[in-house]
Structure formats: structure tokens, C-alpha cells
Symmetry: none
Subunit: 402 residues, 2 copies
């Protein structure tokens, strides 16, 4: 892995197009000890054909043994080392619900929790209240007034909400108030640097008023706040890779992460058909397209092996539609594995295929975990290496040194 | 990858010999989508036999997706991280023409260019003038006199020349005068650190006098200078690897890069036969030999698939000649790929085989790109790891830790 500044120093303009087709949670595990993974069980003649004409492997999203969240996993695919380019939990919560976070906003992730009469936390998730109840509580908290800043309180899901302060001179250098265990009181908001002193006073005032507003709302009678953060100011894909980049994603989280690296958000409708129609419509306007397909991840989290395989099969016929646009480089992979056996994101390396006119083909004839292990990209390619490999196959990098 | 100091801490003396046989631009691509690469198409029974008795793989010269120049590519093979050990363009130009650069010299790469009557650059390469014309112009520039330093102006090729200042207290911390685009004037020489103030005055004087000398020489009526640099002062192979090292190369660039890491230059005549005769002659005098074969790279740059394959075939009979000398470790690889399909250096990983009595053989029976993908060195070995692996197979590294 090399840093973004090094890649930037080698960029040359080109009239080539790169498409990353990301099947969320693609990697899997066999349903039984001799069986196939979800991807291997799926009938994917078009992906198999592309694999045979391309170069395959498995990528490691963050580092050996690390199970990534969606944010870090996608940043790696975009060529941003997820260990270096870290996003605060508050910002990720904002991205996840499509909140239009501005550059000076400070965001935090909130939990509704339960405290006893002494103020000691007895349930950090307030009995996992329903999202409907959460919306009522957020409406109450939204009434809180803070001097000189605008306050946003938005429902995320169940016991989780988003807090955003908007104003001048705010800082995200504030420690979590969540004690992370029951039997302790919520921690006082505390500045982690001098420039957060003013913001801490505002947060403190918010927490105090929440404490006054919520007591009637058992079990959700208090709030805990984590991951205070501002929208990061990172180098954008246009600057470091010379790419006009766009995202076609149905879920706000993925659009949000893509926006952090400077991708433009295109309307991708509701279906795969809508996404590929939008891709064709905007084909001439961008150099790089991130096409995100979510649903196989959800099937994996539901533990539904067959459904996950079927959803992969549904993507397969769109591959020739994509190739018909004459892209120069196509990468098909997942952001991470979500084996239905585990019902959760996992650390397992993720199948990846890269096709270009200039790739060196290997002997892989089928797009699946075991076949990809023998591919030319190797069984453990760092995900962050994919973008330089895609750029170079698109003839967008000059030679390093004479 | 570990750093040179760590390797140095583990070195033990040994009476073993290592040979790196480097076939320049060895890696390739198939001529058609179902075919073989140049190396795969070549008949190489001796290399195949050595591959079967050794361990194979593909190496990544610099980093994923990066196409290396000859300098960085060879430094990686010698165990020097090319991202850390960077050579200035001026120094590389000097190495390329075999100029005997001394440790206090400052070198720059020059372009003859065309400027209009206002001094604005209209062609950065002066219409790619012939090398013969270049020699005339260099003779003119050599007449320039600078106080207290010696001036060298040497033809490289076409519009390119080498400028060297020799004297005391010179610094290479000077910004390029090449504006890198037409429609702008050449930039003034500018010091990048205080210690370059005096050198900048000399460069400024050189440029001013060149401006006076050249106007009659349309289209080459001005000069642009890039990559001011001094010969780097790196740890040498004797110090860090304990190796008395020698180079057998027909081209000055490779002898020059080898000298940067402390190799001694041996007379290697004109032919492969001369090179291997010199190898035998000096066999007892050194521990490490870098044998460089250039011509398959040139065939690749010419886009001549068949010729590149034939040139690889010409090397093959010399493998048993080499083995007859009883080396302890032999590495056969390229510095980078030069697929005849692309007619240029490329980013594709490079086939590598390592043979020693102590290597762990894999199942690879043929020395070629696709076969090597399944080899024990893996499909993406960092080039810089080859030297420690060679050293340890030569029993020259002690155990790390108790």
C-alpha cells in the first residue's frame, strides 16, 4: 500500500472509465462442511465468464482478522486506508440516515438508556424501545434550546438517535458520555482539547435538559452520547485520482461514505434496473462509478443462505448490460463477507474479479471463494490496493522513476 | 518488508554465493486472449528445470498498480525499498549515460526547448531534435564559464542532455525550471533550502548564458532543467548484507544503479557469452553477482512478441553454465514487465524463480506467468523481500530472537 499523495504524483489524464460493482456482504461460508458458499451455490454464468476473462483473487478489507463495518470497508475499496481515514461514529450515524451534515457541524450518536433513581445506568439500550417511541422522544428533545447553535435530533433506529449541533467554532474533541457498562452513572461531557471547551458547555446543557425532559418516559429516561465528530476534510477522488466519480446506491450510508471522498450522488431509483439505467444515462459524465447493491448483505444477516444466493443470481444478468457500455475497467467484489452461517459481517477475505483489456488473466473460470484463492490477485490482496490496480489498468498512472 | 538496519543486525559471514540473473522487462501478456505470454511461448527447458527444482512466484516491483522505471525496479530487487531510496532524475540521467558522478556533484536533466520572442515555451522538446544536433548544442553550452565550479554538459538523446556542476558546497535542493506545459515561461531557478542559495546563483547564470548562446539554434533556443540532485549516500551492500557484490551489465544505467548500492563494475564485454565468461573469471572474488540482460525489454518496447520470446530462449542455454559454477542461491526474474502488447513498462507482477539447496520446492514445473501464480513465493511477493530470502537461503542470516 502506498499513500494517496504518491498516487496523486503519478496521475495522468485519460479518457477511460472504471466501474466498481459492489455486492454488499458478498463473501460467505459453506452451509455444510463439504458444500458451497452462497456465491458458489449461485448460478452466475455472466460473472463466471467475466472472471475467466479477468483476474481474480480475494481481498482483505482492513487487515488480517479484522471484521469491518460498512464505512471502513468501503473506504478501503475507494483506495483510502481505513486505518488512517477514520470516520467518527457520529458522522457515520448522520451518513446512515442521509442527514446532510455540513462541514462545521458536530455529530454524535445517541442511545436512549435507563437510569435508576440515583442516576445509575441500568440498561444502556432502554429495553430496545421501538423506533416509533424513539421518534416521540426525539420530538421532545428537539424542543431543547441551546444558545447560538441550531440543534438536530433525529431517529436512527430503536434506541439509537443522531445529535447534531450546527454553529460556528464547534469542535468534536469531546469524550463519550456512555460509561459502556451498567452500574455506573453517565460520564460528564469532557473536552479532549482546549478548542472544545465551548462545545462541551453546549453538550452539557443538552444532557441536563434531556435529563429534565425524559423522566416520564420510562424506560427511556436518559441519553448517552458517543463518537462526537465532524465531517472529515479528506483529499477527494478528483484531486488524488483525477476521477470524476459518482455513486449509484439505494441506501443513504453508502451514498454518504461516497460523498466523503467526493463522489456525486446520482438518483438510482429503487431497483437494479433503475441503477443500470442511471449508469447508462450518466455514462459520459463521469470516469468512475460506484454501483452498490445492498440486499445480499441483509440476507446474510438474516442467516438465509438460499436467499443470499438468489440475490447474487439477480445481479448476474446485469453484467452484460454493464459490459455493453464498454467500460475500460470493471471490478466486481463485496465490501466484506456476511456469511449466512454467522448472520453478521465477518473477517473472511472477499472474492474479487477485475477485468480490463490489459489485465493478465489467470486460470480462474468461476467467480467463487475457492476458485478465487488460486487467482492472480492472490488470496489476500489488501483491499486498498484495488484502486491503484484499477487506475493503472485504466492507463491513468504514469511510470514511477526513470 | 523489513528495513535494512534489521537485516544488517542478523548478518553472519558465510562462504556462499548468490547470483541474480535479471532479464529486463521479463514479464508479459498473452498475444491473444487465449494465448501464452512471451515467456510462456519461449522454449526454456533449462529454466523450466530450475523452476521445478526451485520455488517460484510473481513479484510486485514497487507497489500494487505501480509501473516502475528501471531505477526503482532494480533497487527493489537489491533489497532497497524504492519508495524510501529515491534517486533524482538528474542522477539517473548521469547513470544512464555512464557519467562518473562524484559525491559532491549536482546533476540535472536538461531539455532543449523552443521559446517564442517573449520567452514563452512553445515546445518543451524543441521538435525532438536529432541527437547529432544535440551534440552540437552541448558543445556550445560547454563553453559557458561559471565561477569556481566545473561544468559538464553531456548529450543523452534527442532533446535531452545532462548538466553537472562540480565544486564545493553545492546543493541539489533546487526547484525545476521546466514549467511542464507550453504557454508559460521557464521558471526561475529557486532554492528549496537555504543551503542551495549559492548553487541557485550558478544555475541562474548558466540559464542566462544559455539564453544568450542558443537563439540562433532554432528550434532549440532555450533549456529547461529538472531533477536537480546529488548522488545519494546510501548504506552499501557490503555494510548491510555483508556481500562483496559485482555487476555484469552491458548498459550504463544498470551499472550505475548497481554502483549506488556499492557493487563493483566488472567488464562484461558485448555478449551473453562474455558476461558468463566474466562471471566464471571473477567467481572467487565476490559473494553476489547481478547479471543483467537487457534486450528482451527492448523487444517488448518494440511490440515484438516473437523477438522477445526468442531473446528469452537465447538466455536459457546459459543456465546450466551458471549452475556449473555451483552457486548457492540463484534468482532468475525481471525488474518489471514489458508486455509487447503494451510496448512499455507495465505494472504486472514479474515471474521469479529462486533455487537453492534449501528452498522448499513447489509444484511449478514451467517458468511462466500463469504457472508462477501457483508457486510458493505467491502471486504478489514484494520485490524488496527477495534479497532477504536469497540471503537466508545462502545461510547468511542468523535467527532473530532467542
Amino acid at each position: 500500500m502506498v499513500d494517496l499523495e504518491f498516487i496523486r504524483s503519478l496521475i495522468q489524464p485519460a479518457d477511460t472509465k472504471i466501474v466498481f460493482l459492489i455486492l454488499d456482504g458478498l463473501g460467505g461460508l459453506p452451509a455444510d462442511s463439504n458444500g458451497s458458499t452462497e456465491l458458489e451455490a449461485a448460478e452466475t454464468p455472466n460473472l463466471d465468464n467475466l472472471a475467466a476473462r479477468g483476474i481474480c483473487g480475494l481481498h482483505v478489507p482492513v487487515a488480517a482478522g479484522i471484521t469491518p463495518g460498512s464505512g471502513p470497508a468501503h473506504l478501503g475499496l475507494f483506495g483510502y486506508d481505513p486505518l488512517k481515514y477514520q470516520v467518527g461514529r457520529g458522522v457515520l450515524s448522520a451518513l446512515g440516515i442521509g442527514f446532510d451534515l455540513r462541514s462545521n457541524d458536530v455529530a454524535a450518536r445517541g442511545n436512549f438508556c435507563t437510569v435508576d433513581k440515583d442516576g445509575v445506568v441500568t440498561d444502556r439500550r432502554a429495553g430496545r424501545i421501538a423506533s416509533e417511541k424513539n421518534r416521540e422522544l426525539c420530538a421532545l428533545l428537539r424542543e431543547i434550546e441551546l444558545p447560538e447553535v441550531q440543534l438536530f435530533v433525529e431517529t436512527v433506529k430503536e434506541y439509537r438517535f443522531l445529535l447534531v449541533l450546527r454553529g460556528d467554532g464547534l469542535s468534536g474533541d469531546i469524550a463519550d458520555t456512555d460509561p459502556l457498562q451498567v452500574g455506573r452513572k453517565p460520564l460528564e461531557p469532557r473536552a479532549l482539547s482546549a478548542e472544545a471547551d465551548q462545545t462541551v458547555q453546549l453538550v452539557d446543557r443538552f444532557v441536563e435538559q434531556a435529563r429534565e425532559v425524559l423522566p416520564e418516559q420510562q424506560p427511556a429516561n436518559m441519553v448517552l452520547l458517543r463518537g462526537f465528530s465532524k465531517r472529515p476534510d479528506w483529499p477527494l477522488m478528483k484531486e488524488v485520482f483525477g476521477l470524476r466519480a459518482a455513486v449509484l446506491a439505494h441506501y443513504p450510508m453508502y451514498r454518504g461514505v461516497a460523498r466523503l471522498v467526493g463522489m456525486e450522488v446520482l438518483d438510482s431509483g429503487e431497483t437494479l434496473g433503475d441503477q443500470f439505467a442511471a449508469l447508462r444515462e450518466h455514462w459520459n459524465d463521469y470516469d468512475f462509478f460506484f454501483v452498490h447493491v445492498k440486499r445480499m448483505d441483509s440476507a446474510g444477516e438474516d442467516g438465509d443462505f438460499r436467499r443470499k444466493a438468489e440475490l447474487i443470481e439477480e445481479v448476474d444478468p446485469w453484467v452484460p448490460v454493464l459490459m455493453h457500455l464498454h467500460p475500460d475497467v470493471v471490478v466486481v467484489t463485496g465490501d466484506h463477507s456476511t456469511p449466512s452461517q454467522l448472520k453478521y459481517h465477518s473477517w473472511h477475505p472477499v472474492p474479487v474479479l477485475l477485468w480490463s483489456e490489459h489485465c493478465r488473466t489467470d486460470g480462474v473460470k468461476k467467480f467463487g471463494e475457492r476458485a478465487c484463492m488460486a487467482g492472480g490477485l492472490g488470496p489476500r490482496l489488501p483491499a486498498v490496493d484495488l484502486m491503484p490496480i484499477a487506475l493503472t489498468n485504466a492507463l491513468r498512472l504514469v511510470k514511477f522513476g526513470a
